[in-house]
Protein backbone atom coordinates (compact mmCIF):
# COMPACT_ATOMS: atom_id res chain seq x y z
CA UNK A 1 0.00 0.00 0.00
CA UNK A 2 1.71 3.15 -1.17
CA UNK A 3 0.19 6.21 0.39
CA UNK A 4 1.22 9.78 0.81
CA UNK A 5 1.95 10.50 4.42
CA UNK A 6 0.47 13.38 6.29
CA UNK A 7 3.92 14.87 6.58
CA UNK A 8 5.65 15.92 3.39
CA UNK A 9 9.27 15.43 2.45
CA UNK A 10 9.32 11.68 2.85
CA UNK A 11 11.70 9.87 0.51
CA UNK A 12 9.51 6.79 0.37
CA UNK A 13 5.80 6.59 -0.44
CA UNK A 14 5.40 3.88 2.16
CA UNK A 15 3.08 4.66 5.00
CA UNK A 16 4.68 4.59 8.45
CA UNK A 17 3.23 3.71 11.81
CA UNK A 18 4.17 3.76 15.47
CA UNK A 19 2.80 1.07 17.77
CA UNK A 20 2.57 2.20 21.39
CA UNK A 21 1.73 -0.71 23.69
CA UNK A 22 3.24 -2.19 26.84
CA UNK A 23 1.96 -5.66 26.01
CA UNK A 24 4.41 -7.83 24.08
CA UNK A 25 1.72 -10.02 22.49
CA UNK A 26 -0.20 -7.00 21.22
CA UNK A 27 2.95 -5.37 19.86
CA UNK A 28 3.72 -8.54 17.93
CA UNK A 29 0.22 -8.78 16.49
CA UNK A 30 -0.02 -5.08 15.60
CA UNK A 31 3.42 -5.22 13.99
CA UNK A 32 2.32 -8.16 11.85
CA UNK A 33 -0.98 -6.53 10.89
CA UNK A 34 0.87 -3.42 9.74
CA UNK A 35 3.56 -5.45 7.96
CA UNK A 36 0.87 -7.31 6.05
CA UNK A 37 -0.41 -4.01 4.74
CA UNK A 38 3.07 -2.92 3.71
CA UNK A 39 3.25 -0.29 6.45
CA UNK A 40 6.70 0.32 7.91
CA UNK A 41 6.36 0.30 11.65
CA UNK A 42 8.20 0.78 14.88
CA UNK A 43 7.05 -0.15 18.37
CA UNK A 44 7.57 1.49 21.75
CA UNK A 45 6.41 0.28 25.15
CA UNK A 46 4.81 3.32 26.76
CA UNK A 47 3.57 6.83 26.19
CA UNK A 48 6.81 8.47 27.26
CA UNK A 49 8.76 6.57 24.61
CA UNK A 50 6.16 7.64 22.06
CA UNK A 51 6.71 11.28 23.02
CA UNK A 52 10.50 10.83 23.09
CA UNK A 53 10.63 9.31 19.62
CA UNK A 54 8.78 12.34 18.28
CA UNK A 55 11.11 14.66 20.17
CA UNK A 56 13.98 12.95 18.35
CA UNK A 57 12.47 14.20 15.10
CA UNK A 58 10.68 11.13 13.83
CA UNK A 59 7.12 11.36 12.55
CA UNK A 60 4.62 8.74 11.50
CA UNK A 61 1.48 8.68 9.40
CA UNK A 62 -0.31 6.56 11.98
CA UNK A 63 0.06 6.02 15.72
CA UNK A 64 -1.68 3.05 17.33
CA UNK A 65 -1.96 4.12 20.95
CA UNK A 66 -2.80 1.78 23.81
CA UNK A 67 -4.52 3.39 26.79
CA UNK A 68 -3.19 1.62 29.86
CA UNK A 69 0.58 1.74 30.03
CA UNK A 70 3.11 2.30 32.79
CA UNK A 71 5.28 5.46 33.02
CA UNK A 72 2.91 7.45 30.78
CA UNK A 73 -0.50 6.21 29.66
CA UNK A 74 -2.08 6.70 26.26
CA UNK A 75 -4.30 9.59 27.31
CA UNK A 76 -1.38 11.66 28.55
CA UNK A 77 0.82 10.69 25.62
CA UNK A 78 -1.88 11.70 23.12
CA UNK A 79 -2.35 15.01 24.90
CA UNK A 80 1.38 15.74 24.85
CA UNK A 81 1.78 14.77 21.20
CA UNK A 82 -1.04 17.13 20.22
CA UNK A 83 0.48 19.92 22.31
CA UNK A 84 3.74 19.32 20.45
CA UNK A 85 1.85 19.93 17.20
CA UNK A 86 1.84 16.31 16.04
CA UNK A 87 -0.96 15.98 13.51
CA UNK A 88 -0.54 12.29 12.71
CA UNK A 89 -3.59 10.04 12.77
CA UNK A 90 -3.71 8.75 16.35
CA UNK A 91 -5.96 5.74 16.81
CA UNK A 92 -6.62 4.67 20.37
CA UNK A 93 -6.68 0.90 20.81
CA UNK A 94 -7.81 -0.43 24.15
CA UNK A 95 -9.78 -3.10 25.94
CA UNK A 96 -11.65 -0.46 27.95
CA UNK A 97 -15.35 -0.45 27.33
CA UNK A 98 -16.69 2.20 29.73
CA UNK A 99 -17.99 5.19 27.80
CA UNK A 100 -16.50 7.67 30.26
CA UNK A 101 -13.00 6.20 29.90
CA UNK A 102 -13.18 6.05 26.12
CA UNK A 103 -14.50 9.64 25.98
CA UNK A 104 -11.55 10.87 28.04
CA UNK A 105 -9.18 9.10 25.66
CA UNK A 106 -10.89 10.55 22.58
CA UNK A 107 -10.93 14.05 24.08
CA UNK A 108 -7.17 13.86 24.61
CA UNK A 109 -6.86 14.11 20.83
CA UNK A 110 -7.62 10.82 19.12
CA UNK A 111 -8.78 10.65 15.52
CA UNK A 112 -10.24 7.20 15.98
CA UNK A 113 -10.82 4.58 18.64
CA UNK A 114 -10.98 0.81 18.22
CA UNK A 115 -11.63 -1.81 20.86
CA UNK A 116 -8.99 -4.49 21.20
CA UNK A 117 -8.19 -6.97 19.91
CA UNK A 118 -7.23 -5.13 16.75
CA UNK A 119 -8.17 -7.01 13.59
CA UNK A 120 -7.29 -6.45 9.95
CA UNK A 121 -10.72 -4.98 9.20
CA UNK A 122 -10.43 -2.52 12.12
CA UNK A 123 -6.97 -1.48 10.98
CA UNK A 124 -8.15 -1.00 7.41
CA UNK A 125 -11.00 1.21 8.62
CA UNK A 126 -8.44 3.36 10.50
CA UNK A 127 -6.25 3.63 7.39
CA UNK A 128 -9.19 4.63 5.22
CA UNK A 129 -9.60 7.63 7.47
CA UNK A 130 -6.03 8.69 6.70
CA UNK A 131 -6.51 8.29 2.98
CA UNK A 132 -10.12 9.36 2.75
Amino acid sequence: MAAQGRHGGKKSNKMTALVVDDNTVNRMIHHRLLDNLGIENVAVVNGKEAVDIHCSGKTFDLILMDMDMPVMNGIEATRQLREMGIRSMIAGVSTRSMEREIREFIEAGLDDYQEKPLTMSKLISIIHKING
Binding site: N23, R32, M120
Partner: protein, 150 residues
Amino acid sequence: MERNPMRRQLQTMRKSLFDQGYLDDQFVQLEELQDDANPNFVEEVVTLYYRDSGRIILNIEQALERKTFDFNKLDAYMHQFKGSSSSIGAKKVKAESTLFREYCRSRNGEGCMRTFQQLKKEYATLRRKLEAYFQLARQAGPVETACRPK
Protein backbone atom coordinates in the same frame (compact mmCIF):
# COMPACT_ATOMS: atom_id res chain seq x y z
CA MET B 1 -12.03 -32.55 1.46
CA GLU B 2 -8.52 -32.98 2.91
CA ARG B 3 -6.90 -36.19 1.60
CA ASN B 4 -3.89 -36.23 3.85
CA PRO B 5 -4.95 -38.14 7.02
CA MET B 6 -2.70 -36.09 9.25
CA ARG B 7 -4.14 -32.89 7.83
CA ARG B 8 -7.64 -34.29 8.40
CA GLN B 9 -6.75 -35.02 12.00
CA LEU B 10 -5.41 -31.49 12.33
CA GLN B 11 -8.62 -30.01 10.94
CA THR B 12 -10.67 -32.12 13.37
CA MET B 13 -8.50 -31.00 16.27
CA ARG B 14 -8.81 -27.39 15.21
CA LYS B 15 -12.58 -27.62 14.82
CA SER B 16 -12.97 -29.11 18.30
CA LEU B 17 -10.98 -26.24 19.83
CA PHE B 18 -13.62 -23.88 18.46
CA ASP B 19 -16.64 -26.14 19.03
CA GLN B 20 -15.68 -26.73 22.68
CA GLY B 21 -15.27 -23.01 23.24
CA TYR B 22 -11.55 -22.90 23.87
CA LEU B 23 -10.91 -20.49 21.01
CA ASP B 24 -12.82 -17.69 19.35
CA ASP B 25 -12.58 -15.77 16.09
CA GLN B 26 -9.49 -13.84 17.20
CA PHE B 27 -7.49 -17.06 16.72
CA VAL B 28 -8.68 -17.11 13.11
CA GLN B 29 -7.45 -13.51 12.77
CA LEU B 30 -4.00 -14.69 13.85
CA GLU B 31 -4.09 -17.59 11.40
CA GLU B 32 -4.85 -15.13 8.61
CA LEU B 33 -1.64 -13.26 9.45
CA GLN B 34 0.38 -16.42 8.86
CA ASP B 35 2.00 -16.83 5.44
CA ASP B 36 5.04 -18.35 3.75
CA ALA B 37 7.28 -15.63 5.15
CA ASN B 38 5.86 -16.15 8.67
CA PRO B 39 4.78 -19.80 8.68
CA ASN B 40 4.85 -20.18 12.47
CA PHE B 41 3.34 -16.85 13.41
CA VAL B 42 0.43 -18.27 15.41
CA GLU B 43 2.63 -20.62 17.40
CA GLU B 44 5.09 -17.78 18.06
CA VAL B 45 2.34 -15.53 19.37
CA VAL B 46 0.91 -18.28 21.57
CA THR B 47 4.38 -19.09 22.92
CA LEU B 48 4.93 -15.42 23.71
CA TYR B 49 1.52 -15.27 25.38
CA TYR B 50 2.29 -18.16 27.73
CA ARG B 51 5.69 -16.72 28.54
CA ASP B 52 4.38 -13.25 29.33
CA SER B 53 1.14 -14.19 31.01
CA GLY B 54 2.95 -16.69 33.23
CA ARG B 55 4.49 -13.71 35.04
CA ILE B 56 1.11 -12.13 35.56
CA ILE B 57 -0.30 -15.39 36.93
CA LEU B 58 2.56 -15.48 39.40
CA ASN B 59 1.90 -11.87 40.46
CA ILE B 60 -1.76 -12.66 41.04
CA GLU B 61 -0.90 -15.79 43.02
CA GLN B 62 1.39 -13.80 45.28
CA ALA B 63 -1.20 -11.08 45.70
CA LEU B 64 -3.82 -13.67 46.69
CA GLU B 65 -1.49 -15.09 49.36
CA ARG B 66 -1.60 -11.83 51.27
CA LYS B 67 -3.78 -11.48 54.37
CA THR B 68 -5.53 -8.47 52.87
CA PHE B 69 -6.33 -8.38 49.20
CA ASP B 70 -5.52 -5.29 47.18
CA PHE B 71 -8.47 -5.58 44.83
CA ASN B 72 -7.34 -2.63 42.70
CA LYS B 73 -3.98 -4.28 42.10
CA LEU B 74 -5.61 -7.67 41.42
CA ASP B 75 -7.96 -6.02 38.94
CA ALA B 76 -5.08 -4.25 37.22
CA TYR B 77 -3.16 -7.51 36.85
CA MET B 78 -6.21 -9.28 35.49
CA HIS B 79 -6.91 -6.45 33.08
CA GLN B 80 -3.47 -7.05 31.57
CA PHE B 81 -3.93 -10.80 31.56
CA LYS B 82 -7.36 -10.58 29.98
CA GLY B 83 -6.02 -8.31 27.26
CA SER B 84 -3.38 -10.81 26.22
CA SER B 85 -5.79 -13.74 26.44
CA SER B 86 -8.27 -11.89 24.30
CA SER B 87 -5.57 -11.17 21.70
CA ILE B 88 -4.93 -14.86 21.07
CA GLY B 89 -8.61 -15.83 21.12
CA ALA B 90 -8.46 -17.74 24.42
CA LYS B 91 -12.22 -17.71 24.95
CA LYS B 92 -12.66 -19.67 28.19
CA VAL B 93 -9.62 -18.05 29.80
CA LYS B 94 -11.01 -14.64 28.87
CA ALA B 95 -14.41 -15.52 30.38
CA GLU B 96 -12.80 -16.50 33.71
CA SER B 97 -10.76 -13.28 33.61
CA THR B 98 -13.95 -11.26 33.22
CA LEU B 99 -15.53 -13.07 36.18
CA PHE B 100 -12.45 -12.51 38.31
CA ARG B 101 -12.58 -8.78 37.58
CA GLU B 102 -16.24 -8.69 38.59
CA TYR B 103 -15.30 -10.26 41.92
CA CYS B 104 -12.52 -7.69 42.31
CA ARG B 105 -15.00 -4.87 41.76
CA SER B 106 -17.41 -6.32 44.30
CA ARG B 107 -14.48 -6.91 46.71
CA ASN B 108 -15.29 -10.62 46.92
CA GLY B 109 -12.07 -12.36 47.95
CA GLU B 110 -13.49 -15.87 47.95
CA GLY B 111 -14.93 -15.35 44.51
CA CYS B 112 -11.54 -14.16 43.30
CA MET B 113 -9.76 -17.20 44.71
CA ARG B 114 -12.31 -19.65 43.35
CA THR B 115 -12.33 -18.08 39.90
CA PHE B 116 -8.57 -17.90 39.80
CA GLN B 117 -8.33 -21.65 40.37
CA GLN B 118 -10.73 -22.25 37.50
CA LEU B 119 -8.85 -19.77 35.33
CA LYS B 120 -5.57 -21.60 35.91
CA LYS B 121 -7.22 -24.88 34.91
CA GLU B 122 -8.55 -23.40 31.68
CA TYR B 123 -5.19 -21.74 30.99
CA ALA B 124 -3.32 -25.04 31.47
CA THR B 125 -5.86 -27.03 29.44
CA LEU B 126 -5.63 -24.61 26.54
CA ARG B 127 -1.86 -24.75 26.66
CA ARG B 128 -1.88 -28.55 26.45
CA LYS B 129 -4.36 -28.56 23.61
CA LEU B 130 -2.50 -25.91 21.62
CA GLU B 131 0.85 -27.61 22.14
CA ALA B 132 -0.63 -30.84 20.77
CA TYR B 133 -2.18 -28.92 17.89
CA PHE B 134 1.04 -27.17 16.91
CA GLN B 135 3.02 -30.39 17.21
CA LEU B 136 0.62 -32.10 14.82
CA ALA B 137 0.69 -29.07 12.50
CA ARG B 138 4.47 -29.32 12.29
CA GLN B 139 4.27 -33.02 11.48
CA ALA B 140 1.55 -32.47 8.91
CA GLY B 141 3.59 -29.86 7.09
CA PRO B 142 2.41 -26.70 5.35
CA VAL B 143 -0.82 -26.49 3.33
CA GLU B 144 -0.47 -25.53 -0.31
CA THR B 145 -3.73 -23.63 -0.44
CA ALA B 146 -5.49 -21.68 2.29
CA CYS B 147 -8.52 -23.75 3.01
CA ARG B 148 -9.70 -23.13 6.51
CA PRO B 149 -13.18 -24.13 7.51
CA LYS B 150 -14.87 -21.58 9.72
